[in-house]
Symmetry: C2
Subunit: 220 residues, 2 copies
Amino acid sequence: MNNKTLVVLSGGQDSTTCLFWAIDKFGKENVSAIGFDYGQRHKLELECASEICKNAGVEYTVINTPIINELSANALTRSDIEVDTEKPEDTPPNTLVEGRNMLFLTYAGIYAKTHGIKNLVTGVCETDFSGYPDCRDIFIKSLNVTMNLAMDYNFCIYTPLMWLTKAETWELADKLGVLDTVYNKTLTCYNGIIGEGCGNCPACKLRSRGYREYKLMNNE
Amino acid sequence: MNNKTLVVLSGGQDSTTCLFWAIDKFGKENVSAIGFDYGQRHKLELECASEICKNAGVEYTVINTPIINELSANALTRSDIEVDTEKPEDTPPNTLVEGRNMLFLTYAGIYAKTHGIKNLVTGVCETDFSGYPDCRDIFIKSLNVTMNLAMDYNFCIYTPLMWLTKAETWELADKLGVLDTVYNKTLTCYNGIIGEGCGNCPACKLRSRGYREYKLMNNE
């Protein structure tokens, strides 16, 4: 059985929780992680990811992919566009990078096959779906088939957070014994503040609401 | 009806024939083309493509994507690996770039959506299938679904050469009135010789065998 596993790691709460999920499931010796430098506003998230991997004792590879910026314009990569503080009613938030998860997972797949790895892990999540079509379960399943056909290989894409609320993702981190690491060492905030973040952007609001809910579930 | 169409154009026989197929079907005013600079041995093919587009009066955009070289090693991009002159028995030829068509079409899709284009055209072909899993019809259809899910958009991927032999591709070029252009202005040869090519590499052999067959079909 091939336990070798590649985690797509951005350095945020979700992907970091996935990293520790993968270590727990497949064993540290079988896990490595990959990240993408696509000209995002906050390179800091790659530094967070690198630090987390170093402390966890797993290898982290960063791939440069400025092409994402060439192909589409959006608030996560272009500093002249302001981040939406509220999600627009009818459209995805302007933090959308078209096809981003599709590209990242395809890159991860190419890298994985080249390194004899079959398992891919991603933190995408349908529960907090806020207009990103490439976070949906149906997309991931379709992508898994497409990648297997493209490369004639049996990838298995894991999405441990797909049906979890943000509170349940905190719970998972706690069960895995990494609540403090996830709380203090990850970067989710669109404004680039590690840990608790700015508190105002949509990512911070989602994160802190989930954390409060988890603490309430625990009667803390 | 949205006739806007993007052709993935490498400057070889197949994609060039597709370009003229698209112009014939959708009208020159609706067609543009996209190519990828991924560190291929022969940049000349991008120059061929550019020249062909200029003469045809359609726009050609080249996207830089060195990432393909970072992710996997192979004879088409690395000059220290020799091109197979015969296809190996049991494995794909070492000109395989893992997942290349998947990446190119995904890039094309992101670019297309950003530009309000729904139709994508690619010259992939199952008939001359020589071990590239991402040339298969089943892969393209799966990819079409995956891309539509990823971007919540109705892409329509056309593959006019999917079931044609190389002889029939020459016939198509002839019917479209571009036999001379395709014969003289395209680059298929792995050794970088425009038009008739080196005559020895697998691409040249396939191409010239097809041409002779087409001429025989026509009793020439």
